[in-house]
């Protein structure tokens, strides 16, 4: 996936304040390289709203507005309405929020917007905690994971909220998971999403070396491992009822995924086994929804 769009401006320029190895910036860069310059981005409080730059400078050369925490989907829907009533039906309105701005505080407006099927593309760049404020638990934090509000003395017990299922339950035209470790798959999904009218939701897995406690060069590898281990399988749901599995690599155990990340350092053997079982069960469940014959154990 090339960022080089001949004869067009660079949509993402260097000089931003993302941490070295930041997966969220990769997520934006990959996304914009597919969506192109006819895109308006709405972002909310989160890593992106602070790494993008410092007033009066920005690292994105598409129109961007950074709005109140949680208002991403609703502002995006408003922008789309404002464009539509002026006859602009082509510009993609991209709501780009982190897991906190999607799973937690942004949940109500997102649910409202997708229930009304407003014509926006919502991408949640999921780094599984409130990273911008310094690694606090969100409802996207996985069970067993360390954060500063689920410290080693009280690591998170609850499982991660399944946003794609929730979106599918809204019967929206298109929802999918994607990973920065699988850019071709992301590209295919974004291209598909841009050709669909109505609410589109992509749950984009974006690793965070700072918060997940892994080496900066492993950001893409960790994202790939999440897919390989089926911790974060890739699939899409059309109209909330047709589930389709995306191309998936050979299945592996969760060990490699866990071993790279310091946030899982304290997980016991039993916890790992429990996680493996959960992952296996959910994978079987997903295969069932996708009506794929039991494969790859």
């Amino acid at each position: 996936m090339s960022e080089q769009i001949k004869g067009k401006r660079e949509l993402f320029v260097p000089g931003h304040y993302g941490c070295p190895g930041c997966g969220a910036t990769v997520a934006m860069k990959q996304t914009l390289s597919v969506l192109g310059e006819d895109t308006i981005v709405v972002m909310t409080a989160g890593c992106w709203s602070s790494l993008i730059g410092i007033y009066p400078y920005t690292c994105l050369t598409v129109p961007v507005v950074s709005v109140a925490f949680g208002a991403t989907a609703s502002v995006a829907a408003g922008i789309k309405a404002g464009l539509t009533c002026q006859g602009n039906h082509h510009t993609t309105v991209l709501a780009f929020a982190g897991d906190g701005g999607t799973f937690d505080i942004g949940f109500q407006p997102l649910s409202g917007v997708v229930e009304r099927n407003d014509d926006i593309l919502f991408i949640c760049y999921d780094n599984e905690a409130y990273m911008n404020t310094g690694i606090q638990r969100s409802s996207a934090t996985p069970a067993g994971g360390w954060t500063t509000t689920t410290p080693d003395s009280a690591r998170k017990g609850q499982r991660k909220k399944n946003m794609v299922e929730i979106m599918a339950a809204h019967r929206i035209p298109y929802t999918a998971t994607a990973s920065i470790g699988a850019p071709e798959d992301l590209k295919a999904k974004l291209e598909k999403a841009t050709h669909i009218k109505g609410s589109r939701f992509i749950h984009l897995y974006a690793s965070c070396p700072t918060g997940w406690r892994h080496a900066t060069e492993l950001s893409i590898e960790v994202a790939r491992q999440a897919v390989r281990s089926r911790v974060f399988p890739l699939y899409e749901v059309i109209d909330g009822d047709t589930w389709r599995l995306s191309p998936m690599p050979e299945k592996e155990s969760v060990d490699a995924y866990l071993n790279h990340q310091g946030r899982f350092k304290k997980m016991s053997a039993e916890e790992r086994d429990r996680l493996q079982k959960q992952v296996d069960d959910e994978w079987q469940c997903l295969l069932g929804k996708c009506q794929v014959p039991n494969r790859a154990g």
Binding site: P14, P56, C59
Partner: protein, 396 residues
Amino acid sequence: MQTRTVIKTLSELPTAPTTIGTMVWNQTGDWRYLTPLVADKLAPCAQHCPAGIPIPRHLGAVTRGDIEGGLALLLAYNPLPGLTGRLCYHPCQTKCVRRRIDRTISIQEMERFLGDLATDVTIEKSERTDQRVTIIGSGPLGLSCAFYLGCQGYRVAVLEPSDQAGGALVGLSPGKIEPTVLSHEINRLIRLADIRLETGANIGVAKPGEPPAQADLVILDPTGLSEEFCAPSGAVACDPFAAGSVIGSVVSVQLPKNLTPFKVPMIAHYIAAGRLLAKKASDGLRRKGLEQPAMDRSPLAVSTESIRIERFPAAEMRDKQKETWDREGAMQEAERCLSCGTCNLCLKCVSFCPDASIRPEGRNVTVEVDLDHCKGCGICAYECPRGVITMEDISV
């Protein structure tokens, strides 16, 4: 580098809190500890190529659809690809890493395809000098040497005593090589390098010690002259594969034992010898008043661990290798090359760089790092599946 516009007065401040420029001024490069170094390394195939051809490079050009560019890159190491593509024993293919995934790349077939192209290509040439070199004998060594000297701007004449150029290659059975191929290859070679070829030339030496031709340097080609040919006295023996440059004005090439007498499958060795000899000859000639050329540093071999074959999906096997390749067929085959140690602009590093700090360089043959902004996360090096990028501590 974009300059930073600064708001100095209230009236310059936008009404809404909108930006006026980009963050490019912010040089995040000083966050870096380790620095990505982009450097091509010799692929296993190239390491074992008798002619030392960096094979992934011309395959890369073909992959991108630049077939003529691929030929030009190939000619830079081998001016007779149509011949090697038919005659060479191709040790490159036995070392191909791709065979660990599915099957080896048809490197020789590719060479042949490129050599047989009817179209002409542009090659890099130095400015013309007044220095003259005469090569006696038009075997593969002589022709190769003539080609590279011609490319470096020398006025090169090849004197062939017989009626047909090609030396030891003349008269090979049509089963080994089609009759037209030899002339096609030689014609392109002399045309591109601007060489004067004289067949039926009188090269008899009148007196011992007299040079066989008027030139700044005369080279006697062992692959173009019969064994009966006697080197004139005063000729200096020279092994192209040994160190040092050419001394004297008449050079008699002495090949290592394993290359004598001439063996057809070893053709690439003779071509390499010609190329190396051209280099040595050029070094010797330049000493007469021209500046010393830069040392030709041979690249490092790529380590097999840095080729991450697990990142390359097995390609769908095509039913059968085509008898004759078309451009598309060539591209499909070239695409399969892992390009070990050689940047083939797969742009994975570009796609995965969180800081938009690595991008194709101007000539579009590799990538370059924007060190003003690169934070040194190391993703590019980790993600490069072919070992081109390494993280280096350049502070040492």
